[in-house]
C-alpha cells in the first residue's frame, strides 16, 4: 500500500537543506563558525515550529481531502470500490439519522415514564386517602396492592406476623376467584363475611370487579370492602323495635278487648266492678295514646317537622299532671308512688305536652322496672338558677356498660329486655325534650338491684319575666 507523505516529512527535508546551505554561505563570507552554526540552528527551529502548527490541522485537512477525493471518484468512477464506498456512505447517513430518531424516542419515552410514574403515585395517594379498604389482586389472586385502610385491617408486608392472606378469609377468596373467572367482566359481584380484627368480630360487604385487558383476558380484580357492623346492628334494632311495638300496642288492646267482651257477655254483674273495668279500659286507651304519641313525636323529630309551643308554667303543676297519669299503673303493680315536690314556686317556660310526656316516660319506666312492693319517687327542688326534677326507683338498676347508650333510639338494656317489654323510644324522647327543646340537662345514676335515679335540670324563669327584667336592665343601662 502506498503511503501518502505527511506535511511533517515534506517540511523537514527542505528546512534541513536550507539551513545547511545558508550556514555554509554565511561561513564563507564571515569566516565565523559560531555564527554559521547559530544560523543553521535557527533555520531548523523555525522549520520545526511551522511544521508543528501545520501538522495540528493535518488530520482534518487530510480527512477533507480524502472525502472529497472519494466523492470525486464515486461521482465519476464505476468500479467495485466506488460502489462499496457509496453504500458505506449511505449506511453511515442512515445510521446517523436513526441514531437521532432513537435519541428523540428515548427522550419521549423517559418523559412518558415519568408522567406514568407520577400518575401511579397520585392514584396510590388517592386510594390511600380513602377510609374504605381497597384490594387489587393479580391474575393468580395474589395481592398486588392494598391501600392504607386495607393495611390497617390486613397488616402490611413489614408486619409479616400480623399479615392476613386472602386465603385466611375463604368467603373473600371465593368472591375474588369467581369475579376473575366469570365471563361477563363488567358486572360487580358482592359477598358478606364476618371476620375478627384484633380480636373483635367485624362484618364486611365485599364488592369485586374484574379488570380485563383489551383482548378480554383477566388482569386482576379490584375489591372494595364496606364495614356493615352498624348496618346490621340497625337492622337488628329495627326488627326488635317492630316486635316491641307490636307487643306494646297489642297488650293494652288485649286488655280493652277482653274487658269489653266480659261486660258485653254479662260476666261482670256488680256495678262497682263494672265501673272498675270501664276505668281500666280508659287507662289502657290513654296508654295506647301515649305510645302512639311517643312514636309520632320521634318521627316528627326525625323528619324535622315538630311544632313546639312553649308557655309559662309552674313546674310542680306539670309534674303533678304526669304523676296522676302513671299512678294507676303503679297501683296495679303494687308499687308505692311518692311525690316530694318543692314548696317553692318554680317558674318554667316549656312545651306542656312534650314535657308531661317526658316525665310520664320516666315514671312509667320506673314502674316497669321496679318489682311489686317497690317504690317510685318524684322530686322537685330549686338549685340557684335551675330547677331539678328527680325520678327515683327501687328497681333492678341499669348495668354500667349500658348507661352511655340508654338515650339512643331503639336501644334496650339487654339484661332488662326480659324483665319488661318496651320500644326503646321512651328515653330517647325524654333526652330530646329535656336537652334540645328545653335547654336543660339530663343525667342518670344507677346501682344494680337497688335502683336508678334520673335527674333533669331546667333553667328557671318565665319568659315574660325575663323579658321584663331585660328591659329594666337596658333602661338602667346596666350590662347583662
Amino acid at each position: 500500500m502506498k503511503l501518502r507523505p505527511t506535511i511533517w516529512k515534506t517540511l523537514l527535508l527542505p528546512s534541513v537543506s536550507f539551513g545547511v546551505v545558508f550556514s555554509v554561505i554565511l561561513y564563507l563570507f564571515s569566516q565565523n563558525a559560531l555564527m554559521a552554526a547559530a544560523a543553521f540552528g535557527a533555520s531548523c527551529a523555525t522549520c520545526v515550529i511551522i511544521a508543528s502548527i501545520v501538522n495540528r490541522h493535518a488530520e482534518t485537512i487530510c480527512a477533507r481531502l480524502r472525502r472529497q477525493e472519494l466523492r470525486d471518484r464515486g461521482a465519476v468512477g464505476t468500479g467495485l470500490y466506488s460502489q462499496v464506498m457509496q453504500e458505506a456512505f449511505d449506511l453511515l447517513n442512515r445510521s446517523e439519522s436513526e441514531a437521532r430518531i432513537a435519541s428523540n424516542e428515548k427522550t419521549k419515552l423517559e418523559a412518558a415514564y415519568h408522567a406514568a410514574d407520577r400518575k401511579t403515585s397520585r392514584m396510590e395517594e388517592t386510594l390511600n386517602s380513602l377510609e374504605t379498604p381497597v384490594l387489587i389482586t393479580d391474575g393468580k389472586d395474589e395481592l398486588l396492592f392494598h391501600n392504607q385502610a386495607a393495611i390497617r385491617l390486613f397488616g402490611s408486608d413489614d408486619q409479616q406476623s400480623k399479615k392476613t392472606q386472602l386465603s385466611d378469609i375463604p368467603a373473600l377468596q371465593q368472591l375474588v376467584q369467581e369475579t376473575r373467572t366469570r365471563k361477563v367482566a363488567t358486572e360487580h359481584r358482592s359477598a358478606e363475611f364476618e371476620w375478627a380484627v384484633d380480636g373483635a368480630e367485624r362484618a364486611f360487604r365485599a364488592k369485586s370487579k374484574n379488570i380485563s385487558s383489551q383482548h378480554g383476558s383477566s388482569l386482576g380484580v379490584v375489591t372494595v370492602l364496606e364495614d356493615i357492623v352498624d348496618e346490621r346492628l340497625a337492622k337488628t334494632r329495627h326488627a326488635e323495635f317492630v316486635s316491641s311495638v307490636s307487643h306494646e300496642l297489642k297488650t293494652p288492646m288485649a286488655g280493652i278487648k277482653a274487658y269489653i267482651e266480659l261486660l258485653m257477655d254479662g260476666d261482670v254483674e256488680e256495678p262497682e266492678e263494672q265501673q272498675e273495668l270501664f276505668g281500666y279500659i280508659d287507662n289502657q286507651v290513654d296508654r295506647l295514646t301515649r305510645l302512639v304519641n311517643n312514636m309520632l313525636n320521634l318521627a316528627r323529630i326525625e323528619s324535622g317537622v315538630i311544632k313546639i309551643t312553649r308557655k309559662d308554667y309552674e313546674l310542680n303543676d306539670v309534674l303533678r299532671k304526669a304523676f296522676e297519669i302513671v299512678q294507676p299503673s303503679a297501683e296495679d303493680k303494687n308499687i308505692r308512688m311518692v311525690s316530694e315536690l318543692s314548696d317553692l314556686y318554680l317558674p318554667v317556660h316549656l312545651d306542656d305536652d312534650l314535657f308531661v310526656q317526658a316525665i310520664v316516660n320516666l315514671l312509667s319506666n320506673a314502674v316497669k322496672y321496679t318489682p311489686a312492693g317497690g317504690e317510685v319517687r318524684l322530686q322537685s327542688q330549686m338549685e340557684e338558677t335551675t330547677a331539678v326534677i328527680k325520678v327515683q326507683d327501687s328497681g333492678m338498676g341499669i348495668p354500667a356498660d349500658s348507661l352511655p347508650h340508654i338515650f339512643e333510639r331503639f336501644y334496650r338494656v339487654p339484661e332488662n329486655n326480659k324483665a319488661a317489654a318496651g320500644t326503646g323510644l321512651g328515653l330517647a324522647l325524654v333526652h330530646y325534650v329535656s336537652t334540645d327543646i328545653h335547654n336543660g340537662q339530663i343525667s342518670v345514676e344507677s346501682v344494680i338491684d337497688q335502683g336508678s335515679c334520673f335527674s333533669i335540670t331546667l333553667p328557671l324563669g318565665h319568659r315574660d319575666q325575663n323579658q321584663k327584667k331585660l328591659r329594666q336592665q337596658q333602661l338602667a343601662g346596666t350590662p347583662q
Binding site: S243, S246, T251, M253, G255, K257, A258, A372, A419, A420
Partner: protein, 128 residues
C-alpha cells in the same frame, strides 16, 4: 270439685280477665305475674291446665313450658300459650316441640279462650 287452672301474665288485667271468664264457667283459677312464680304455683297446685303469656319477666312462657315438659310430674299438663308477638314464631314447630294445646294471639277473645280450654280439657279427659 272444679278443675284448677294456672294463668301467668305480667299484665295483671289480662290474668284478671281470664280469671273472671273461667271462674264464671266453673273453673278454679290461680294467677301468677311471671314465669318463675307460675312454675312455683304449678308445682304446688298440680293444675289441670296452664295458660301463659310468652314475654314475661324472670322466666318467659317458652322456658316455663320447657320446664313443665322436662319434669315428669308436670310433663302431661296441657299448655295454652298467649302471645302479642304474632309473627316470628313458628306455630306448628312450637306446638309439636312443646306439645302446646293451642296458641292464642293477643288481643284475644275471653269467649274463644274459654272454648279452647273446654276443648283442651275435654280432649285430655277423653284421652285419660
Amino acid at each position: 270439685m272444679s278443675l284448677r287452672i294456672v294463668a301467668c301474665d305480667d299484665e295483671a288485667h289480662i290474668t284478671r280477665a281470664i280469671s273472671m271468664k273461667l271462674t264464671k264457667a266453673g273453673f278454679d283459677v290461680v294467677t301468677a305475674s311471671d314465669g318463675q312464680m307460675g312454675w312455683e304455683l304449678i308445682q304446688q297446685e298440680k293444675p289441670s291446665l296452664v295458660i301463659s303469656d310468652l314475654q314475661m319477666p324472670r322466666m318467659d312462657g317458652l322456658s316455663l313450658c320447657r320446664m313443665i315438659r322436662s319434669t315428669p310430674e308436670t310433663a302431661e299438663i296441657p299448655f295454652i300459650l298467649l302471645t302479642a308477638k304474632g309473627f316470628g314464631l313458628d306455630q306448628d314447630e312450637l306446638i309439636s316441640e312443646l306439645k302446646l294445646s293451642a296458641l292464642a294471639v293477643k288481643p284475644f277473645s275471653p269467649r274463644e279462650l274459654l272454648k279452647l280450654v273446654q276443648e283442651t280439657l275435654g280432649v285430655t279427659a277423653s284421652l285419660n
